[in-house]
Amino acid sequence: MKKVVSKKNRGLTKSGPLLLIALPGIVYLIINNYIPMFGVFLAFKDYSYVKGIFGSDWNGFDNFKYLFRQDALLIVRNTILYNLAFIVIGTVCAILVAILMCELGERFRVKIFQSSLLLPNLLSWVVIGFIGYAFLNADTGFINKTIIRLFGGNEVAWYTTPKPWPFILLLVYLWKNVGYSSIIYMASIAGIDKSIFEAAKIDGAKKIEQIRYITIPMLKPTVVILTLMAVGRIFYSDFGLFYQVPMNSGALYDVTQTIDTYVYHGLMELKDIGMAAAAALYQSVVGFVLVVTANAVVRKIDRENALF
């Protein structure tokens, strides 16, 4: 029966008009994203200003060498581990906040909470770096000057003690992003048919059970899609978080250095365009391979939720 409908339906759905609707977006993406992609071949060139982009000499994979040195491995590990932590913990926290927010029901309180949680997202990393410094700085920081004095204990030279930094960075990440990403989940929860909850209530389901058996499963498509997108960017890192927040402190590099900051530090003096392009290509290709694989897996399990 269903098949018959969809066959009939396919007859009604013509591609032309739909493509026309999508046209402005397609044109924009071609111009903004696809045309500049010819720039990737800079990764294989020894750039010279006189010769220009097209005239510069090819130099094979020379520009990539610095990314595959022994010391670069640690950095790849950091990047991946941080991203995994951000994906998993970030998602859990965002969903939690979204669910609680939707349970409040009362608009005024939602408004207050939501505005406040979103506020950190409006700050630039430079400013967040300053805020972190206001708390952590060893000589005038709030933690050393006030909290530690109140509760006793030794002052900590935060910017030279690597141990707590994975937690600090995770905390700062959550602080900045949870409010923002919970909005997406709130919108998804709002989209759930209220009658399902009503029916569950009549059947005597408790709140916790409703969340467990209705809300969370209904959020699955959103979670899948956001995770897939995050996986594609697993080799990238938020430069500001890893550069501004630890104040670029050398003593912390073992735990704060990611691919983006490594590339930045390495190239600050040389400013080699080819090497920068090589790093970007490397990140994209790895992300691409990972996401295509992940998407294939999702498609196998649940066709509807795959990205493409």
Binding site: I53, D71, T160, G250, K271
Partner: protein, 510 residues
């Protein structure tokens, strides 16, 4: 109805596409207008002068007025019209390189410590054969010795800003505290004499951290190691260096001098004599000095000690300051070519550009217009020739000023002195340029392109370890060996070998 809606969508899509093309058109139109405007009179070569500024970037109308004043001079003198392009200093390098890659017109630009890269990536025009024709006076002012810093493989690629090059290491301290504790600062002759002074201050003021860092990541002690030629490396990321008169490239971090200053700062750190967060502080040294918790800092300045103390005192809320010299100035190639003006390799009017550059070194009217703007509106001058902002205005409220860039543009010695400085200092400074000891490798520039991979890796390792060592927050006995083994893993030896090879070649051809 249906058709109407459909039409709307199509129209919208079209607007999107045409809109993109449309904005393109409107700007081209404007450009044509500009072109015809100047075409009405005589045709002049147009030169775009891109300079870095710390001040606010003026509006276009204001820039136009200053340009017009400059053009009055340049049209007549060299048949050139100038467009000023001030760019905020922090994104200057990236903006200029992006613009040059994008094929935009920038004819003159400056290096900010990256002269070497500009030349090796072909950003700079070879001006060897042009300088005698179009910038003869400048060549005479600077002299062959100074120009040699911008020579690479026998070709000249730029003209260094003419200013006090010689940086003399000093301790800047609070006079009142020194007087109160009876400390005779003139007895401090080297950085090692400072320890006892710091201890005395700490004893009297246990809550104080007497020494503050001059910049994030350094206590300033590294600038006191005498006679180091950094051989084109960044001062804050030295790799292979020359020390003294020896022509053997050495690993900076393996030298006894380096270990010694690290140990020194470490004792300061352990005794609480230096700011704990020196390696990461977000405050500038002037900010730190204006608090009650500090006594002194170590820095290198190009002014005489008394002047330095006076001018910094004005910035820290007029706390009386003193300064003593704790080392000798030393000139190497980088100290001169760090700020170099270059004609861009993509320039269509290199001759005109060089002619204008020449004026920024020789014509006081031109350079003062660029620095201070228009007299009466942007600044006023007293009878003795000292400059200040008009009544009730300051650097951030006048329509145009680039005063903070004074040490980076053209000929510093032609600029009007600011009120509060002394003209005599200029003479001292020009003298210092001649007297300061010069590295035997003066004029040598290192081309890092053959060791690029190692260079990036080594830079990373240095940034990881150096600030901690220079601020005392890590123990040198443990960390230096670890640091050095990481450096050699990263390929420092290859860099040193490459430097030695290029240096030997350079010596042979000299």
């Amino acid at each position: 109805m249906k058709i109407w809606k459909k039409g709307l969508i199509i129209a919208l899509s079209l607007i999107m596409v045409i809109g993109l093309a449309g904005c393109g058109k409107s700007t081209t139109g404007e450009k044509d207008k500009d072109g015809s405007k100047s075409g009405e009179n005589k045709s002049y070569d147009k030169v775009v002068y891109a300079y870095a500024t710390f001040n606010n970037i003026p509006t276009s109308e204001v820039l136009d007025t200053v340009e017009e004043e400059i053009n009055k001079i340049t049209r007549e003198k060299i048949n050139v019209e100038v467009e000023l392009l001030p760019i905020a200093i922090f994104d200057y390098s990236s903006s200029v390189s992006l613009a040059l890659q994008g094929g935009e017109q920038i004819d003159l630009f400056q290096s900010l410590g990256d002269f070497n890269n500009s030349v090796s990536s072909d950003m700079a025009y070879d001006i060897t054969d042009m300088i005698d024709v179009y910038a003869k006076e400048t060549k005479e002012i600077l002299g062959e010795d100074i120009l040699a810093a911008c020579v690479k493989d026998g070709r000249l690629y730029g003209i260094p800003t003419y200013k006090p090059y010689a940086l003399t290491p000093m301790v800047v301290y609070k006079q009142e505290i020194a007087d109160e504790l009876g400390i005779d600062m003139s007895q401090v002759k080297s950085v090692f004499d400072l320890t006892d002074v710091l201890r005395k201050v700490k004893e009297a003021y246990p809550d104080m951290t007497p020494l503050v860092p001059v910049q994030t990541g350094t206590s300033g002690v590294n600038m006191t190691i005498p006679e180091v030629d950094y051989l084109t490396d960044d001062y804050f990321s030295p790799k292979g260096v020359l020390m003294g008169d020896s022509m053997t490239v050495v690993d900076y971090y393996g030298t006894e001098e380096f270990a010694e200053i690290c140990r020194l700062v470490r004792t300061w750190y352990n005794e609480g004599l230096i700011l704990k967060d020196a390696a990461t502080t977000t405050s500038t040294s002037t900010e730190l000095m204006s608090s009650d918790n500090s006594f002194c800092y170590i820095a290198s300045y190009s002014y005489p000690p008394e002047d330095t103390a006076a001018s910094i005192s004005a910035q820290v809320g007029n706390i009386p300051l003193g300064a003593v010299q704790i080392g000798e100035a030393y000139l190497d190639t980088t100290s001169i070519n760090a700020l170099t003006w270059m004609v861009s390799s993509t320039s269509k009017v290199p001759e005109a550009a060089l002619k204008f550059l020449n004026l920024t070194f020789t014509d006081p009217d031109v350079i003062n217009l660029i620095i201070y703007g228009i007299e009466g509106r942007d600044y006023v001058m007293d009878e003795e020739g000292y400059v200040s902002y008009p009544e009730g205005q300051d650097a951030s409220s006048v329509p145009y000023t680039a005063q903070l860039s004074c040490g980076t543009l053209g000929n510093f010695f032609l600029m009007h002195p600011m009120k509060g400085t002394k003209k005599e200092s200029l003479i001292w400074e020009e003298e210092q340029n001649k007297l300061a000891k010069k590295s035997p490798a003066m004029g040598f520039t290192f081309d890092s392109s053959e060791v690029k991979t190692e260079y990036t890796a080594v830079s990373n390792v240095i940034q990881q370890y150096l600030p901690g060592l220079l601020c005392g927050s890590v123990d040198p006995e443990v960390v230096i060996p670890e640091f050095r083994s990481k450096l050699s893993d990263a390929g420092l030896d290859a860099i040193i070998a490459a430097k030695q090879k290029q240096l030997d070649e350079w010596l042979k051809n000299k």
